[in-house]
Symmetry: C2
Subunit: 254 residues, 2 copies
């Protein structure tokens, strides 16, 4: 890809722009409907920016890095046919892109926070395109950024995306539940942070199946009952029961 234009200025756009520039890809311009956001991203990286469709420059690749609900509308803005347009969503098909250009997907599998530094080479990328040539080009581009690039169709990408909902969104919610229980014991969230980090660290060179510990794994029904008694929220009780049952069933043949 000789030139890239980024459409969007949120967390994903921010980190993708940086990752591309760090790998000496020519990011020509950033477009965002809110000028101040386009400006912030553009100025931070010393690249052009605009909020006007009429000013959109010609490029080999347009990356629409926006929330799922905004992708379709933004896809109408690109006025060129002889180019490749991709979105960065884990769950949308290429068909969401409404234009006569060639279409694809460039999905980075990570949770992005603007102010947090990330090692881009460790972010898995999933690429897809309507034709082999474009897919090869997207693969090569992702391969410049990352050590882990996969070609996947939409169905597989959706599954990968859903696995991320479990491993990140749901996990974060369990952190929240844990925090609320800790606070009932008048303990700050700080006491949970080292445990949370070590639990994630542990499976960096182990499989979750062998890393599992705790009362449900041991089949310790006395503790399980005591914990059910300690819980006051009925949704938390249901979750505790269901998660414990699921763990027990996973190890029932041990």
């Amino acid at each position: 890809m000789k030139s890239v234009v980024i459409i969007g200025a949120g967390n994903v756009a921010f980190h993708l722009t940086r990752a591309l520039l760090q790998n000496t890809i020519n990011v020509r311009q950033v477009f965002n409907r809110t000028l101040s956001k386009a400006q912030e991203l553009g100025e931070a990286n010393n690249i052009k920016y605009t909020d006007k469709i009429s000013e959109l420059e010609k490029a080999d690749l347009y990356i629409i890095a926006a929330s799922d609900s905004a992708v379709e509308e933004l896809s109408h803005y690109i006025p060129y046919d002889d180019t490749l347009v991709v979105h960065t969503s884990g769950s949308l098909s290429t068909k969401i892109l409404k234009g006569d250009y060639r279409k694809g997907v460039f999905y980075p599998f990570q949770t992005f926070t603007k102010r947090k530094a990330l090692r881009y080479e460790e972010i898995p990328f999933f690429v897809e395109a309507e034709n082999k040539e474009d897919e090869d080009a997207l693969y090569k581009l992702a391969d410049k950024i990352s050590n882990e690039v996969h070609r996947v169709d939409s169905e597989k990408r959706r599954k990968v995306h859903m696995s991320g909902v479990w491993a990140s969104n749901f996990v974060n919610h369990l952190y929240y539940v844990a925090q609320s229980i800790c606070e009932e014991a008048e303990m700050p969230f700080d006491v949970l942070r080292p445990l949370i980090l070590e639990t994630a660290n542990k499976i960096q060179d182990m499989e979750p199946l062998e890393a599992q510990t705790g009362p449900a794994k041991r089949g310790d029904s006395i503790i399980l009952e005591k914990h059910m008694d300690l819980l006051t929220d009925s949704r938390q009780q249901q979750l505790y029961q269901l998660l414990s049952d699921s763990i027990k069933r996973t190890y029932q043949n041990d």
Copy 2:
């Protein structure tokens, strides 16, 4: 504490012995019912070891670092009255300790794997004793190892322990579910590892409430339905629904 004897030779005993020795606490001896395990721990740290109760040396503190189900039996073995005996369990009362000695708890709040190095100063410790003097001594001892020491009664300690079940045991099980979904898409667990680590890293300087992202947080019912269709296991469907509802409810007033 002038001298300590460790009862047990599992993961917790292994790391506690190291943490104490690194802080120049005199660990006199390790006792374990399986001699080979006592020997392994003793020789690794250049301290005495035994599998015989009759050889148990006199010390100021005995730390029973064993699984919950073994604590009571081991507590009978200590033949001295004028000493302090503690266990390291998050869920057991001091009353589980059956002897005429003074009793307490020395609970390190972390998940321990033998071969994995840990920063002991970051592990929160929760101490409890039947009398103030012993509690002070346990606090001072934990304070030598760690930057985060709390005095808690049994009820609060049980809540802290349960919060750990959510933040570590249940979280690890979600990693396992995520892995199984990823494998349905013929993707290795490796594609999830960076996301898992970043999700845990993120809340090291953020609160889970502000770190939450994903379809349930956004109230994106189209994705939620698609994910329910992708799931083939009924328990996973129930879990998905319950976790999503719980997230939605957490943010419903936003």
